[in-house]
């Protein structure tokens, strides 16, 4: 009997000689020899003497055993032997062990990947010294519904001067600029960031070579200075150790390199090559625009041991003073601050939280599945357990052994999961939408390792509890009497298994509903009409340099390039625009209409300057009036085209054509009035999920943009235009680079990237979770069917129809699934509210999604119970009876 043999082997293993054992043997031998000698001296024969000595000593083996009992560390040895036992039992049922480990590895791997992201983005502090002292200061304007808005430079400077608790305040422009580097072979495009004050020292970062900006260098001083990134220094300047002090030519301007930043530093965006300062002139500083143009992101470092509340109190004092001092611009302008870290991760927090919840559910489902597997396995080992109990093994020992087996499994799963999770983080980094996670490399640090160990142990306990409890409850006599290996699973164990499946189905439903809601959001988003036709539109920016320093020169250049690109083969039409939709770049301005009181309407509207052909190129519908023509000259009536949103919001029932508006706060003598000539459809410029803003367009023939984007409608693939447009530009002026080359379709797709990323991940997790849950349903029903084979055999023998028998099994599956679905639906309705902010035109309690997911799960569960049902209905009555 193999069981007895195994028991023997185990005993032998336990008796393996150790050094301590050998010592004891020698000691006992000495003792016996002495005793024998004594007996011989008292007149016994040597053989007799030996026998008496042995008898006197008592059982040598017993002494050894007792000695060992005293010597050993029982729990450790037990644990080791339990682990060995677990290993052996895993080898005995490799398929089961593999299934369990794979299931766990999936669950743990998903958790590792997502937790690494959460850890890197949300938990890990910013990579700056004393990061908790860094805050973002933003402007609040209740009238314009601003909160934490970009600051006006003059206000920033006043905060810096007035708030004593600030160690320093500096600022930056959030957008990444493109500058053309010339004078070193072909022109190269550098990603640049423009900053105010010494952003580097505010953040606490030193230059690796040379120095960073001084505060005064934010203002025009004659010498232009720049700081390079480590990457740019290595790739474009050959890591020249004497670069500091040398001059480079950016956009035609000679700039002195004053420093190189350490590797890895890139703020405020990824891949910045060079930093430059605003270089405001004294005239600009005196202009009202300096306090009116809100474009700077302000970062402050608090003095040590200063609380945010204290600094904020000081800030409010300054803000109130500015409101009194500059009523024109600051009448209702407030300011507030939030920690820099929270500001940076604010919009990533919720998606990550949702993902983390989803993978936690996935792991729970995995645990429930493995728990069920182990329960099935435990039932197969019932006789073994009963025998061991009868032979005197403690119940506690059996329970502990079951738990150790679970832990061994979970550790194996955890190790595989860690590897899988590491791969997952690579994938996340590669697939993430631009700047969402703000990291390139998550790394596996202590927190991640602790997390893995934690969830591994916890899951081992979760899925180990069921079989462990089951071992505890079993009555050995009963199961020995029952006979037959693989005897029926006890009632309690079966209940446990069913409970696990119900939970699995419920969790899977919640996960899938979450994913389903996002899928619906994505579908809705894709259906949003952007207000123009994004197909076959090539987009690029022309980086004019300071050679083109007058309106006339710029105008001439842009006209010429439009004409030459229009002549390229495959081009339908060409236009220019100051802002292109979906690029995140926009311009807002104040607004009044002639003859209406100021503040009659929200005083901010979007403004763009476009060429006459822009609307036709974008296929933006003209609803009323006309669009610009080349006849609109600076000398003719100044004209403006407004969008439908503006027409509806401001002019309501009136005909807007012929009305006059101005981009100003209040009319003055110098106000430049523009006559409305047309109304066009709305563009979703800020993203498909953002309502179109109220917007007005000026004509590039009357107002020079200063910078311009080309939009080119093509007959074929728009990306194929790149070479042609570049050649035209190179022919016109080789020192000008074509920037941000893309297509409208790519920009549109990028605006969906975040939602798509989240949707794909949630959907992947939901599919895995659902599959596991359905496998769980199958597993439990297969066990049920097996347990009732005899019953089915009898039923069939007594004349039951196969269909009736199948129904017996399927109905049980349906019952479990139904309970799970109801439980899941209730939880989903309660829990999906947190998803609200991530959804677009879909309610968190969307009944369609809920019903669709429930039906899907119900059908797959029924399918999963069908297989065991069919098997049960084929039970051969004769065979099952004989097996008894």
């Amino acid at each position: 009997m193999s069981l007895v043999q195994r028991a023997r082997a185990r005993l032998r293993a336990l008796l393996r000689r150790t050094a301590a054992d050998r010592e004891l043997t020698e000691e006992i031998r000495f003792h016996l020899d002495q005793e024998t000698e004594k007996n011989v001296r008292s007149g016994m024969s040597p053989a007799e003497a030996r026998r008496v000595a042995l008898a006197h000593f008592g059982g040598v083996e017993r002494v050894r055993e007792e000695h060992r009992d005293v010597r050993r560390l029982p729990w450790l040895e037990d644990a080791a032997s339990d682990a060995r036992f677990a290993h052996r039992s895993m080898r005995r049922t490799p398929a089961l062990a593999a299934a369990a480990i794979i299931t766990l590895a999936l669950g743990i791997g998903a958790n590792v990947a997502i937790f690494s992201a959460v850890n890197a983005v949300v938990l890990r502090p910013l990579p700056f010294p004393a990061p908790d002292r860094l805050v973002v200061v933003g402007e609040d304007n209740p009238e314009k519904q601003w909160h934490m808005q970009f600051a006006a430079p003059a206000n920033l400077l006043d905060w810096r001067a007035g708030v004593a608790d600030f160690q320093d305040v500096s600022g930056y422009f959030e957008g990444v600029g493109r500058s053309t580097l010339t004078g070193r072979g072909d022109p190269q495009v550098l990603r640049t960031s423009t900053i105010i004050g010494n952003l580097f020292s505010t953040l606490g970062v030193r230059a690796a070579l040379g120095r960073t900006f001084t505060f005064d260098e934010s203002f025009a001083r004659g010498t232009h200075v720049t700081v390079l990134s480590d990457r740019a220094w290595r790739q474009m300047f050959g890591a020249d150790p004497s670069i500091v002090g040398k001059s480079i030519v950016l956009d035609g301007t000679s700039m002195q390199v004053i420093g190189v930043m350490p590797p890895g530093f890139s703020y405020p965006a990824d891949g910045i090559d060079a930093w430059q300062t605003m270089e405001w002139s004294a005239k600009e500083r005196a202009d009202i625009g300096f306090r009116r143009a809100h474009g700077v992101r302000a970062v402050a470092r608090l003095k040590p041991d200063v609380t945010i509340a204290a600094a904020n109190a000081q800030l409010q004092t300054v803000v109130e003073r500015l409101q009194r001092q500059y009523p024109v611009t600051n009448r209702v302008m407030g300011a507030s601050m939030v920690p820099l870290h929270r500001f940076l991760v604010g919009d990533t927090r919720l998606p990550l939280l949702v993902l983390l919840t989803s993978v936690a559910f996935l792991l729970l489902i995995a645990c429930a599945n493995v728990g069920n597997l182990l329960l099935v396995q435990a039932s197969g080992r019932e006789r073994e357990a009963a025998l061991r109990l009868a032979l005197g093994a403690g119940r506690g020992r059996l329970v502990r052994q079951a738990l150790v087996e679970s832990l061994v499994l979970s550790l194996a799963g955890g190790a595989c999961g860690l590897a899988l999770g590491w791969l997952g983080t690579r994938l996340l980094v590669r697939l993430q939408p631009e700047r969402m996670l703000r990291v390139h490399d998550f790394g596996v640090d202590t927190s991640v390792l602790l997390y893995v160990v934690g969830i591994t142990l916890v899951s081992g306990l979760i899925f180990g509890i069921a079989p462990a409890l089951w071992f505890r409850r079993r009555d050995p006599a009963a199961s020995l009497k029952e006979g037959g290996r693989g005897a029926a699973l006890g009632r309690t164990a079966r209940r446990w298994g069913e409970l696990l499946v119900v939970c699995e189905v419920a969790l899977a439903l919640v996960m899938t509903v979450g994913a389903g809601l996002l899928v619906r959001s994505l579908l809705q988003l894709r259906q949003v009409n952007p207000g123009f036709d994004p197909h076959n539109v090539f987009v690029a920016a022309v980086g004019l340099n300071n050679k083109y320093d007058t309106d006339a020169k710029q105008d001439a250049f842009m006209r010429q390039i439009q004409a030459r690109v229009a002549a390229l083969p495959g081009v339908v039409s060409v236009g220019t625009a100051m802002n292109v939709p979906f690029t995140g770049v926009s311009w807002t301005t104040e607004f009044i209409a002639y003859g209406r009181p100021a503040n009659d309407f929200v005083p901010e509207i979007g403004m763009s300057i476009v060429s006459p052909s822009y609307f036709a190129t974008m296929k933006e519908p003209l609803l009323r009036g006309r669009v610009f023509s080349d006849d609109d000259r600076p000398s003719t009536t100044h004209v403006v085209v407004i969008n439908e949103a503006l027409a509806r919001a401001y002019f309501k029932d009136q005909n807007p054509i012929g009305q006059r508006i101005a981009f100003d706060k209040a009319p003055t003598a110098t106000t430049r009035w523009l006559t409305v000539i047309g109304v066009v459809g709305d563009e979703h410029s800020d993203g498909l999920d953002v309502a179109p803003r109220v917007e007005a367009f000026q004509s590039s023939t009357q107002q020079i943009a200063g910078y311009a984007n080309l939009v080119v409608r093509t007959r074929g693939e728009p990306a194929a235009m790149t070479a042609g447009v570049r050649a035209v530009l190179h022919d016109m002026d080789p020192t000008i680079a074509l920037l941000q080359v893309t297509t409208m379709e790519a920009l549109r797709s990028r605006s969906l990237a975040r939602t798509r990323f989240l949707t794909v991940l949630l959907l992947a997790f939901a599919v895995i979770g659902m599959t596991l849950a359905v496998v769980g349903v199958y597993g439990v029903l297969a066990q049920v069917a097996r347990n009732r084979t005899r019953e089915m055999g009898i039923r069939l023998a007594l004349g039951a129809q196969a269909a009736q028998v199948r129904w017996l099994v399927v109905s049980q599956g349906a019952r479990l699934a139904l309970v799970g679905l109801v439980l899941g639906a209730v939880s989903a309705l309660a829990g999906m509210r947190v998803m609200g902010a991530l959804l677009f035109h879909v309610a968190p309690n969307d009944p369609l999604t809920l019903i669709a997911v429930a039906v899907l799960l119900a059908l797959t569960s029924l399918a999963a119970s069908w297989l065991p049902a069919v098997k049960a209905s084929r039970a051969d009555p004769a065979l099952t009876m004989k097996a008894e």
């Binding site: 010592e23 004891l24 020698e26 000691e27 006992i28 000495f30 003792h31 020899d33 002495q34 005793e35 004594k38 006197h56 000593f57 008592g58 059982g59 017993r62 002494v63 007792e66 000695h67 009992d69 005293v70 010597r71």
Partner: protein
């Protein structure tokens, strides 16, 4: 059974410790000495001796080394540690109190 063996075990430990106050000794020697000194009244269950020695060693009351006996055999000698010496007096006092208490009860009429 458990209760009885506990008392015996405690007694055996004390006897071993007391015996070792004279000189380091090997296991057989300890059993012989106890028998001699008690004039044959107490016979050490030799099977319990070695586990007891092991236990005392784990409690840090004795330690051991392998030495050569007068007839040139290697044997494991046990000797008291400092803690062991302190334990002898403490446990002796406790034992005496215990014996007195038992006597008082037995003398009751």
């Amino acid at each position: 059974m458990g209760d009885q063996s506990d008392v015996l075990r405690g007694t055996l430990d004390l006897l071993i410790l007391k015996t070792l106050t004279l000189a380091p000794m090997h296991g057989w020697g300890i059993s012989q000495r106890i028998q001699q000194v008690s004039r044959g009244l107490l016979e050490v269950n030799q099977g319990s001796l070695y586990p007891a020695l092991q236990r005392l060693e784990q409690r840090g009351l004795i330690d051991n080394e392998w030495l050569t006996t007068e007839n040139n055999r290697r044997a494991k000698y046990y000797r008291l540690t400092a803690a062991g010496r302190r334990a002898v007096s403490a446990e002796t006092a406790q034992w005496k109190r215990y014996v007195n208490a038992v006597e008082l009860i037995l003398d009751m009429t």
